[in-house]
Amino acid sequence: MHIDNQNLKSSIYYVLGGLFFLLAPFYLPEYARILLVSILITSIYVASMNILSGYLGLVTLGHAMFWGTGGYVVGILTTRGIVENFFVVIIIGFLATGLLGAILGLIVVRMVRVYFLIITLALGQVAFSIAAYSLANITGGTDGLGGLARPYLGFAFSINDTNFYYLVLLVTAVNFLFMYMLRRSPFGHVLIGIRDNERRMSAMGYNVFIYKYTSFIIAGVMSGIGGMMYAYCDRFMSPTELGFGWSGAGLIMLFIGGIGTTFGPLVGATVYTLLRYFVSVYTMYWSMISGIIFITVVLFFRGGMVSYISLLLRRKRVGSFESRKIR
């Protein structure tokens, strides 16, 4: 392997990107920084769907339930003063979403394609209904749960808006790094192999169920992390964060950005969030607009924006395993 111009160019892009994010609070106006935080948190959510729907090819319409679970963990724990410490809350959130994924995964992962879609949809609706009605006394029901505090890190370190931005940036960066490594790892390649040809993977000796199950849990926990950061950010949780609408939105973002790619989630989250912000000024029918965009992408831009941009820059084929080239 030799260093060439391509690697140098990539490195420059990464450095520039990094600087952009690191220095954002200093040059972005307040509303833009708030949008950026939202984008970053959302990109974690979309990345989690990318694992399931992008790498594994298991399209899910119920993933919001993990996001919402994470958010409600934060909400319930902090508003009732049960736990104050940020780190403890996060750990509990991990455990809660992980447990949920582990239990549901056993049922759900065995299902084939379309039935998987329907059952994830069903489970998402169950989650929504539990939060909205069944456990309304704990969750605040359809009115939502408000008054969440910013994260309390334990030592006398208060979180103001700037600090919070860096916290979110850190979490997002770590998450991105994880996704980057996953994509290029043997595990990641196996996932894509399963997507392409599950039958052959089995025939070669791979225990496909374990891969699907593990990925389901990982994706669930990741989504939950996003939900937790969201709760700390917006300081308000409502059952809609668990429902079909948000699950669908995640899918839309994933497709806009480029399903199965590393940067897809970030690009998709950015485009969707920005568009929604600006379109909502003029009309309340954002749902319809997002539907139209989605249809357009599905019909004409199969690989999402990342593929499109890649093609423009005439870089290597997107969607392949992105493994290193050997002599």
């Binding site: 490594m181 192999g193 052959r200 070669m204 392949s320 290193r324």
Partner: protein
């Protein structure tokens, strides 16, 4: 040592009977076994049952002297059985070398690794290089599957079958769709690869079948019609009746 034993194997879908009462066994080092038979005889179904992709309705299957009748496919693969497919069944998102790497990883501990990049496993790449060079596909290693000719895809299909050093390989019509000369080239490769591996092959091309076979099993209408050396099969009257005009 028995590599494979199939005992009174049967398969039906409701009232539809595909296979009935199929029994035979293959010994280690026995040489190449070729299964022939008219369409619909149940050959691929037989393969699918041996690999575990299709459930057994009746009978038992033993791989390397172990009862695998209820064992899931991936566990059977780990015992040392591998197969290729009648319709080319490659990984279309990946290029040639990545396809091979997927096969090589299957038995390697690294397949659960998330935190190290695939590129760091140079020994696997060396293996892949060896395999691809033998198959004369090394130059095309970065080609995406869509850019390969049918003959090259068949060769890659074969490569995947042999990549994991299996003890028993099932080839399902490996020359399907190839020209005469391509078929002969592939047959030569198969002959070379199967020196220390047990090979069972389904073949429609009679010339290749009789050329490569050390033993022929004739399957017809779900049952074994004949089982023996190629010369005996050639002279077998019932086989001739079933195959009127098809044999060379």
């Amino acid at each position: 040592m028995e590599v494979l034993r199939v005992e009174k194997l049967g398969k039906s879908f409701g009232k539809l009977v595909i296979l009935r009462d199929v029994s035979f066994s293959v010994l280690k080092g026995e040489g190449r076994v070729v299964i022939i038979g008219p369409n619909g005889a149940g050959k691929t179904t037989l393969f699918n049952m041996i690999t575990g992709e299709l459930e057994v309705t009746a009978g038992k299957i033993y791989l390397f002297s172990q009862d695998v009748t209820a064992m899931p496919t991936y566990r059977r693969a780990r015992l040392g059985i591998s197969r290729t497919f009648q319709i080319v069944n490659l990984f279309r998102s990946a290029n040639v070398i990545e396809n091979v790497l997927l096969a090589l990883k299957a038995n390697n501990k690294c397949k659960y690794q998330i935190f190290r990049p695939m590129g760091s496993y140079t020994n696997l790449y060396e293996n892949a290089k060896g395999l691809l060079e033998r198959m004369k596909l090394w130059d095309k290693r970065y080609f995406n599957i869509g850019g390969l000719s049918h003959g090259e895809m068949r060769k890659l299909e074969l490569t995947l079958g042999f990549a994991m050093d299996p003890k028993l390989v099932l080839l399902d019509e490996p020359t399907a769709g190839l020209t005469m000369s391509e078929s002969e080239q592939l047959a030569a490769i198969i002959r070379g690869l199967s020196q220390d591996v047990n090979l069972i092959m389904i073949e429609h091309d009679m010339k290749i079948a009789f050329e490569l076979a050390d033993r022929i099993i004739v399957l017809s209408q779900g049952g074994i019609l004949a089982d023996g050396k190629p010369d005996d099969i050639r002279k077998n009257q019932r086989v001739n009746e079933v195959y009127l005009g098809k044999k060379k």
